[in-house]
Symmetry: C2
Subunit: 301 residues, 2 copies
């Protein structure tokens, strides 16, 4: 099966209570694609600048990620600088330089327009819709968004939502988008906007999946080492969509498995800064943690 | 099997975004015992004042709760007034009148000193220890505590902790007590203090059980109607200990079932103000929600 992501490729500078990193490879498309690459082929649509060297492209190639859709534009690559304090639940953005991202107009390579599974990373909803419409054969299009677009571009976001199958979003943003404090009610309101599948990310508290009247809650995997939450949400999405694309199975039970794979991938990502842990994984480690995850949640009644 | 709780019986005045209630029966021992009464016999050790009428005692008797240990003292019953706003995760205490609770010296009736399962509700750790030592035949003694005692009576709390088997505590309090932000590390530190079984309550995010090197996370049951969180933690403890006392089984798999029963009971409690929903339950409703709870968390890998 085929999987495509559109999103950001960035250089991140990050400080957490456990250390710091300067100008490391990040961005939603990077975390998503590296996570998804453990499940099968994945194609990236993104933009980078002159400062994006072969050594950076090599990171994608080493994971057999298709980079034809990574456009190179004059100028510098998107840069983000942020800090996490205390329990690291919220990032404090210290600096954003959009750079080449400012005029990004994502183009799906002609050879990829028949892709079946698509993740529209957190970019302007107008761009997401533009990409979505280039992918008329998609079986499942999932979308990420954020408070910035909910507050500033709600009409465009709603138009985009009406044309996608799934929304992957944070708990607070689900409440903001729906206007409902209660998550069950929030989910119903959001499903009315278009996406039949809703995945609410709750950070260290796990993930809840709403699909076809059914609700599934998975905890976050518990870790002793938790260094950097950057990219955890996109990594979750990469595991989630990667498993779905690998199986081509949109049944409720398989979506639940996809949530578990997404949660497991996110649990690896946060163990190190940036992509480091995700790049160094083995399939055995992933399956081992899936079994541990099952052990964390199992009970008989 | 036999189950005993020591804690508060109170009159609560509560305001939430969904309504208000004035002077209704509450307190840790009330919520605990009413929840536990659905699983088997339960005895209460507490103190009430002159204003505690037969109609209030009747609430316990209707659930066949043993009230011999409810001492009547001159003065007024403990009163608490609180408000919940927004997502109702935190209570704002508006007024506390300790009244007869101020000089409470809990006495376990002679006939109850051989009780096997004991819950020491959230009172001064010195009183908890005093009760604990009257119950030398207990197979499982569980304790609740709070930030107030962690900050103000840490030495006495630690002494009490060293003589109990289980601690049931909020997430923030577990971090405060252990000095560890990371919950896995926090759990290890707390287990070193005495309790081999640690249950961390995470409110709307569920419950995590640490026991004998194993970790079990259960989500909170999702509700459309959520009126009043008062007593949810004690209700959880009532279902948890009620199931353990009913079965007499301290195996890991049964402790996990107990967490599910506790979570289910708490999910009922918050649907109405005070004890109303817990008093009007049926065994069929409880078992039905346990099945729904299993459905909320099930996946196959």
């Amino acid at each position: 099966m085929s999987l495509l992501v559109v999103g950001s490729v960035a250089f991140d500078s990050i400080r957490t209570p456990h250390g710091e990193a300067e100008g490391i490879l990040g961005g939603s498309a990077s975390f998503f694609s590296v996570a998804a690459s453990w499940f099968g082929p994945v194609k990236v649509v993104a933009v980078v600048g002159d400062d994006f060297g072969d050594e950076h492209l090599e990171v994608f190639r080493l994971r057999s990620i298709e980079t034809t859709g990574i456009e190179r534009a004059p100028g510098r690559t998107f840069r983000w600088k942020g800090e996490y304090v205390g329990d690291m639940n919220d990032a404090k953005t210290l600096d954003v330089q959009l750079n080449v991202f400012q005029n990004f107009s994502p183009k799906v390579p002609e050879s990829d327009t028949s892709t079946e599974f698509v993740f529209l990373g957190n970019i302007h909803p107008r761009l997401q819709l533009h990409v979505r419409r280039q992918l008329s054969k998609a079986r499942l299009v999932a979308l990420d968004s954020m408070n910035y677009w909910i507050e500033g571009s709600l009409d465009e976001l709603k138009e985009t939502l009406s044309e996608v199958d799934a929304l992957v979003i944070n708990e607070g943003e689900a409440r903001m988008l729906s206007g409902c404090q209660n998550l069950l009610k929030a989910a119903k309101e959001i499903q009315k906007m278009g996406p039949k599948i809703l995945v609410i990310k709750r950070g260290e508290h796990g993930v809840t999946l709403f699909n076809n009247g059914s609700v599934f809650s998975a905890p976050a995997f518990m870790l002793e080492e938790f260094k950097d939450p950057t990219g955890a949400g996109d990594t979750f999405a990469g595991g989630f969509m990667g498993h779905i694309a690998r199986t081509g199975d949109l049944s409720e039970s398989n979506l639940r498995r996809a949530v578990v794979y997404g949660s497991v991938m996110a649990s690896f990502a946060v163990e190190e800064f940036g992509l480091k842990r995700l790049l160094g994984l083995t399939p055995q480690e992933i399956e081992g943690r899936v079994r541990d995850f099952a052990q964390l949640t199992r009970f008989d009644v």
